[in-house]
């Protein structure tokens, strides 16, 4: 290096002398400046140091040199008119060099000017006005640009090529060049001469600058105001020198490299930006398991050469990992992993350091300054990076471009994957695979349509909850496993499609399988039952728009064997029939009046239904409810397993300890409105409400449960959880509501399904309680506390009925109560007639008609108590009685609260209704006791007539449906107990009011008939 420098110095002085000869005018100026400077008599000049003057001279010479280089070298180089693309690229590089040179000249002129000003007015212009000092960074920048342009030209041998193109011209200039390029051998090519001509003045100039600035620094005192600036500038120029040296070396090495490569390899690799940093021919390394004869490290890529093939790895996506021994290290890239092995540890260190630093530099997108890896933090490249890569290897990702976050050679974090066929995936990745939330678009045959999957992914396939919108405008919302519909899900076509269809139920490996409900809009039918391989298979119930429903066994989508068919007129057919509900073959019809018709049925074109059979009219009329209230599906779809696909994911989630990262896979993702669902993938991916933001993190949810375990707080806590669709319990309830509506609303509002529905509601309450208990156990476990003891069946039943059922019943109430209304329609209508008739009776007449013993009539009492003092509740009672001829008003009003509960009008809690009933009995007894002036315990002989009186006056609509719903939802523990008794008493009143004499008897003169048994 030393010899090279000295030769350059020699050269530059020759050039300097040459330029002075050619430019007498500036020479004169310098002389005059020197004269000023040397004159000891000038007081002002004493303020300028000789170093400043020397700098001025240096800048003058450099500026002149640059303009000469411009006209002698750069301008002629640009005159070439290339025909090939490569030549054009070279020309562009030369043009860039020209521009950089121009800038360098300009900044030199500016510097020169600032020096001149300073020397002219040293007293008024301070040292820091020098451009070199106050704008050192700008000066540096211009130098760096020049160096970059120059080294780019060198690296691709742009000069040699340009010279070759105009070789005759340059041969003619050879003499002229040689004339002022000292040290240039006559054998050297013109190209080499040009390379030197464009470098030597700069290196010399920088070197001299450093020297002069150093001595200037030493001249000014420690306390000089510009000392700091000077030190800075010295450092910068020092660094610039090192940088320049490194860059020139790299460019020369790169230029030299091309000669050692085959032309094919050269064509691939030779670009102006490439700089060779390391070559396995200098420090040998071998590659395993890939094969490579030679390894080249460029500043932006690692290249393996094998034969003619060139394997390039973008350094942005290269990860360096230490090897097992000291002679090797590993490299991870998106599609390849390989090791570099050197002969000795020194070689390994050199290579690993170079590769690591080159990766760092690439990721910083800026050349390290002053030299590669110089003191910049961090010295290790980050493991997480952003980058783009197009996969080449065969496989799912073949030809796809991934853009996003990487970790250790694999897509990891958020990213976008785009395939050339238009498929694209935006979402979370993990270890190179789609994992977490992701949205995939899959274009379909018609141009602007595509399937859109918004799902959770696990190790590259859909898993967990997702929403898929198909180009056919079908939508699937439900669970996936291994990319297929699996578990619970709803597939729905838009109502506009010609054959609207909706399936709500279980799936297995992409096919309907297990329990499911399907609406066939076309036929106006709903199938409720078992599926297998996308076909109706196993026991099933069909309800139709017309109100007919049947139960049978299906095989391969068709009903086989005999079934039960219930007609709208409550007649029952047991036998075989077709899908069009035509009786075919052996069967038996039971008419509502008890008549039966047994025989074989058939139908023919135009003949209608014909049968040969026996009509039995002798059979006793059956229990009126037997066909009318016949329930379908009971026993064939065990309630515990009916919606296992809904409960299952929650059970699994709890079993796994409620991991936060699976929360979204379980609950689905949430957006504020459905409009957001239609927004762009990227938007949805980033802007969807993360469950953690909204419902709180899983830990918070669990903590909340732990905090509220006392009965009162627990109820509040559960209420809140169940009403929040982002809470696991709330989400579970919502999904169950969905299944309930899918089964029992619309066509499903059929009285023969009441049995299925009511057991389902109770099961749901039980499962929700189990889900709560599961979450609680996990919460306790997280806190390191002992889990709660398992509840025995009775304690669990009590909690389910007392706590959970009242909380969840409102969610199912509308569908469920409709079924009860339908089931008890006939009784309720008789009862309505009864209370309507009884309402015509005045109080005394009614008491008499109902055979209430006279001594219990509160009317007597009324007259006695009208003079009682105010404040007692009786005057209030009396006032009503006077205006409205009503007694037992308090009891009547109390009973009415059964359907209009005071606290909350929407409450449907059966327990609260039973409490209302209990208070009603209390009111009756209180009224009687008050009237008799002593506590009176009513035996049933007295109570029942009074109760009938109160019930008839309370005029509660649909009392039968109410009573049966309350009874079905009552905790089994109450069976035989007080509430059971209260409800039975109420039911017996209800039954009694339906009786003919209650409905039809018109204001009798006196009840005296004792009907015979």
């Amino acid at each position: 290096m030393g010899s090279l420098l000295s030769s350059e110095v020699g050269w530059s002085w020759a050039f300097w002398a040459y330029s002075l000869r050619r430019h007498p005018a500036p020479m004169a100026a310098i002389r005059s400046n020197l004269a000023w400077f040397s004159g000891p008599e000038s007081g002002t000049l004493a303020m300028c140091s000789p170093e400043e003057a020397a700098l001025l001279r240096l800048e003058e010479v450099f500026s002149a040199t640059l303009s000469r280089i411009n006209s002698f070298v750069l301008q002629p180089l640009l005159e070439a008119e290339p025909s090939d693309p490569w030549g054009r690229e070279c020309l562009q590089l030369l043009q860039q060099l020209h521009r950089s040179s121009q800038q360098l000249w300009e900044v030199t002129e500016e510097s020169l000017h600032s020096l001149q000003e300073r020397l002219r007015h040293p007293d008024s212009i301070s040292l820091e006005s020098l451009l070199l000092l106050h704008s050192a960074d700008r000066v540096l920048q211009v130098h760096l640009e020049y160096i970059e342009s120059y080294t780019s030209c060198v690296a691709v041998q742009a000069f040699q090529k340009a010279v070759k193109r105009r070789s005759e011209y340059w041969q003619g200039q050879r003499k002229a060049l040689q004339q002022f390029l000292s040290g240039m051998s006559s054998e050297g090519s013109v190209g080499t001469a040009l390379v030197q001509a464009l470098r030597q003045p700069l290196t010399h100039h920088v070197q001299q600058c450093v020297l002069l600035l150093l001595s200037l620094r030493d001249t000014v005192g420690e306390s000089h105001p510009t000392r700091e600036l000077l030190v800075h500038t010295v450092t910068i120029f020092g660094n610039l020198q090192s940088f320049m040296r490194q860059e020139l070396d790299q460019a020369m090495a790169t230029q030299a490299l091309w000669h050692t490569l085959s032309s094919r390899q050269r064509d691939v690799l030779c670009t102006p930006a490439h700089r060779l940093l390391q070559d396995s021919q200098d420090i040998p390394v071998t590659v395993t398991p890939l094969r490579a004869e030679r390894v080249l490290l460029f500043d932006d890529a690692l290249v393996l050469l094998q034969g003619h093939s060139v394997h390039t790895f973008d350094l942005k996506l290269v990860w360096v990992e230490p090897g097992q021994d000291r002679c090797m290290f590993h490299l991870l890239t998106p599609e390849e992993e390989f090791s570099l092995c050197s002969k000795d540890p020194q070689g390994q260190v050199a290579w690993q350091w170079k590769v690591t630093q080159a990766v760092c530099q690439t990721l910083r997108r800026k050349k390290d300054f002053p030299v590669l890896g110089a003191g910049l933090e961090p010295s290790e490249p980050p493991t997480c990076r952003c980058g783009a890569y197009t996969f080449r290897a065969e496989g799912r990702f073949s030809q796809a471009t991934y853009e996003g976050e990487w970790y250790g050679g694999r897509p990891h974090g958020k990213g976008t994957l785009k395939w050339p066929d238009g498929r694209n995936h935006v979402g979370d990745f993990c270890q190179g695979l789609e994992h977490g939330f992701g949205i995939r678009l899959v274009p379909q045959a018609s141009e602007d349509k595509f399937d859109c999957y918004k799902c959770h992914w696990r190790e590259g396939s859909m898993c967990g909850y997702g929403i898929c919108e198909y180009s056919t405008s079908e939508v699937y919302k439900g669970y996936f496993q291994e990319g297929l519909r699996h578990g619970f899900g709803v597939l729905e076509s838009t109502p506009q499609t010609p054959q609207p269809c909706r399936y709500t139920g279980h799936w297995e490996r992409g096919q309907r399988s297990g329990y499911g409900v399907q609406d066939d809009g076309d036929r106006g039918e709903r199938y409720i039952g078992m599926w297998q391989a996308d076909q109706r298979h196993g026991p099933g119930v069909v309800v139709t728009q017309a109100g007919v429903c049947y139960q049978g066994t299906f095989q391969a989508d068709k009903m086989v064997g005999p079934g039960i068919l219930l007609c709208e007129d409550d007649s029952l057919y047991e036998g075989t029939f077709t899908r069009d509900l035509t009786f075919v073959g052996k069967g038996k019809v039971t008419f509502p009046n008890g008549f039966t018709l047994e025989g074989s049925f058939g139908s023919g074109a135009g003949r209608g239904l014909h049968t040969q059979g026996v009509l039995d009219t002798a059979a006793l009329p059956p229990d009126p409810g037997s066909t009318r209230k016949r329930q379908l599906g009971l026993g064939v779809f065990p309630v515990e397993s009916r919606w296992q696909g809904v409960y299952g994911p929650f059970q699994d989630f709890v079993q796994a300890g409620c991991p936060g990262d699976l929360q979204e896979a379980l609950l689905g993702f949430h957006v504020q409105s459905s409009r957001e669902l239609r927004k762009s993938q990227e938007y949805l991916c980033c802007e969807r409400t993360h469950p953690e933001d909204h419902a709180g993190r899983m830990e918070d949810i669990l903590e909340e449960l732990l905090q509220h375990r006392a009965p009162e707080a627990l109820q509040q806590c559960l209420r809140k959880a169940l009403s929040n669709s982002l809470h696991p319990l709330g989400k579970l309830l919502r999904t169950l509501m969905l299944t309930f509506q899918a089964t029992y609303s619309g066509i499903g509002a059929n009285k023969h399904l009441q049995g299925l529905a009511q057991e389902e509601v109770k099961q749901h309450a039980q499962e929700l309680w189990a889900a709560y208990r599961g979450l609680l156990q996990v919460a306790l476990q997280c806190k390191g506390q002992a889990p709660e003891e398992d509840q025995d069946a009775e304690a669990r039943d009590l909690q389910v009925h007392r706590l959970m059922l009242p909380l969840v019943l409102p969610s199912f109430y509308s569908e469920l109560f409709t079924l009860y209304l339908l089931l008890h329609e006939r009784e309720d209508s008789l009862y309505s007639q009864g209370i309507a008739n009884l309402s015509l009776f005045p109080d005394t007449k009614l008491l008499e008609f109902l055979d209430v013993q006279k001594h219990l009539w509160p009317l007597k009492d009324l007259m006695l108590t009208t003079n009682q003092p105010p404040g007692d509740r009786l005057p209030h009672f009396t006032r009503y009685s006077l205006v409205r001829d009503a007694c037992f008003l308090s009891a009547t009003e109390c009973l009415q609260k059964m359907i209009q509960l005071p606290r909350c009008s929407t409450t449907v809690d059966p327990r609260e209704k039973l409490e209302v009933l209990e208070r009603t009995y209390g009111e009756i007894e209180a009224t009687v006791s008050r009237m008799l002036g002593q506590e009176h315990k009513l035996p049933m002989d007295d109570l029942l007539p009074l109760l009938i009186y109160v019930v008839s006056r309370a005029q509660i609509q649909h009392l039968g449906a109410e009573i049966h719903l309350i009874r079905d939802m009552m905790a089994p523990i109450h069976t035989g107990g007080l509430y059971d008794f209260l409800l039975t008493a109420l039911e017996s009143c209800y039954e009694h009011i339906q009786k003919e004499d209650m409905r039809l008897h018109r204001l009798p003169s006196r009840w005296n008939s004792r009907e015979p048994w």
């Binding site: 304690a795 009995y921 007539p945 107990g977 007080l978 008794f981 039975t984 009786k995």
Partner: protein, 194 residues
């Protein structure tokens, strides 16, 4: 551990024979550890020991008037036992009793224990139903029979003891075969609602 077994018992019999008086006497005579809610004299409970079990009687009164007869099945469904009461001073009431027995045999719960109570034995002066008739009848149907006086607290305890003895011991394999029998540890009885 003593197990509580709930037994639903329904009271049948003509109006005025003293159905609820017997029960009132039964329930009030002994201190009951559980504060049992009642509905007047219509629904009462009482727990008595029986062997190594506790029998908790859930006693349901019924209206004796003939026109409410058709409502009775709602009350006696699921009963472990029925107490059918007649008035020894009223032959008619004994006649009604026979009709109840017949109905229970036909429509009542299987294996229902029947107990016949001839009430008002304090008024044996004006007796119309001889004890012998009642005993013979009871024997013919396999029922418990006692003459009681609710007024003088005669044989009321014995009536229910008789029922307790007739209740078949709990078969663990056939738990709750008549719907009302439940087993629970006594320690839990206190926090139950009824």
């Amino acid at each position: 551990m003593m197990a509580i077994r709930e037994l639903k018992v329904c009271l049948l019999g003509d109006t005025g024979v003293g159905k609820s008086s017997i029960v009132c006497r039964f329930v009030q005579d002994h201190f009951d550890h559980n504060i049992s809610p009642t509905i007047g004299a219509s629904f009462m409970t009482k727990t008595v020991p029986c062997g190594n079990e506790l029998h908790k009687f859930l006693i349901w009164d019924t209206a004796g008037q003939e026109r409410f007869h058709s409502l009775a099945p709602m009350y006696y469904r699921g009963s472990a036992a029925a107490v059918i009461v007649y008035d020894i001073t009223k032959q008619d009431s004994f006649h009604t009793l026979k009709k109840w027995v017949k109905e229970l045999k036909e429509h009542g719960p299987e294996n229902i224990v029947m107990a016949i109570a001839g009430n008002k034995c304090d008024l044996s002066d004006i007796r119309e139903v001889p004890l012998k008739d009642a005993k013979e009848y009871a024997e013919s149907i396999g029922a418990v029979v006692v003459e009681t006086s609710a007024k003088n607290a005669i044989n009321v305890e014995e009536l229910f003891q008789g029922i307790s003895r007739q209740i078949p011991p709990l078969d663990p394999h056939e738990n709750g075969n008549n719907g009302t029998i439940k087993l629970k540890p006594t320690s839990q009885a206190g926090r139950r609602c009824c």
